[in-house]
């Protein structure tokens, strides 16, 4: 399984190296290949960060869709917060709700928590096993099931495919 971790780390490091250099000349590419192969083999011999990631075509496809969904939600969340900030009456109705996630992988939970933080009116306050405590600027449902449906499910259905 470690080939997978080393491989993904290698791809990420090499991609960063190319972006940082901005050129595709032979010395740059050769140096990048060697260094970004040595570093994961040295430091990533026992790591399991990417172990839950699925490498099927469907997972890649869903990763792209997820990025689009996420970008759209990011813009929406900013318009929403802007509206609340500018409005003279300050229309907020804050509270902390509890939501439940089906995701088991640590990495998937991290991504889910980060996505919740960056999307409309919600941010993750604490994670305890399969429950997330989310601060919601405009509470619509206090119930666990209903809040889960509102906050988590739009991301979960993609992350489930990518990480399982």
């Amino acid at each position: 399984m470690n080939i997978k971790n080393i491989g993904i780390s290698f791809l990420i490091l090499f991609g960063f190296w190319l972006l940082l250099n901005g050129t595709f000349s032979t010395p740059v590419i050769v140096t990048g290949l060697i260094v970004s192969l040595i570093i994961p083999m040295w430091f990533c011999a026992r790591c399991d960060v990417f172990a839950d990631m699925r490498l099927t075509p469907k997972a890649f496809f869903y990763t792209f869709i997820y990025l689009f969904v996420f970008g759209f939600e990011l813009v929406k969340s900013n318009l929403d917060v802007t509206r609340r900030v500018i409005s003279p009456k300050l229309p907020i109705n804050p509270g902390i709700v509890k939501v439940k996630t089906k995701l088991k992988s640590k990495m998937a939970r991290l991504i889910l928590a980060n996505s919740i933080t960056l999307t409309p009116g919600t941010f993750t306050l604490a994670i305890e096993k399969k429950y997330l405590y989310v601060h919601w600027i405009d509470v619509q449902d206090k119930d666990v099931e209903a809040a889960t449906k509102d906050i988590v499910q739009k991301f979960e259905k993609y992350l489930e495919v990518i990480y399982g």
Binding site: G22, N78, I92, P94, F123
Partner: protein, 119 residues
């Protein structure tokens, strides 16, 4: 060339406006948690837009700017989550407008401690 620069300038200006509104939100919101809400979203989006606008003005920097946008997108939510969690543990009060607090209910029942979840 000129048009690209104008597009870049407009996008950068939009980013600055987002940052300004975030600052306004920090002043107007009633408690720490709502301030973090506006602070995180506006600062992430504003910084991303500002950097994205620079892509049009300096096309040579594109790769580096993409890396910066990625780092901001990954690190900003994590830092604000840690700030909020530790503020909650330290007992920073919620505003009087708060409608529901499930975390306090569960902490009273002793089955939850908002401990370090990055094990």
């Amino acid at each position: 060339m000129e048009t690209l620069k104008i597009i870049g300038a407009v996008i950068t200006l939009m980013g600055s406006i987002a940052l300004l509104l975030g600052a306004l939100g920090l002043v107007r919101m009633p408690d720490l948690y709502n301030r973090i809400q506006t602070g995180t979203k506006a600062s992430t989006f504003g910084t991303m837009l500002t950097l994205f606008g620079l892509v049009f003005i300096f096309p040579g920097w594109t790769g580096k700017l993409i890396i910066l946008i990625l780092f901001v997108g990954i690190s900003n939510p994590v830092s604000s989550h840690v700030l909020a969690r530790n503020a909650y543990r330290a007992g920073v009060p919620l505003t009087g407008k708060t409608t529901v607090d499930r975390l306090a209910e569960d902490m009273e029942k002793k089955n939850v401690e908002p401990k370090n979840d990055a094990q």
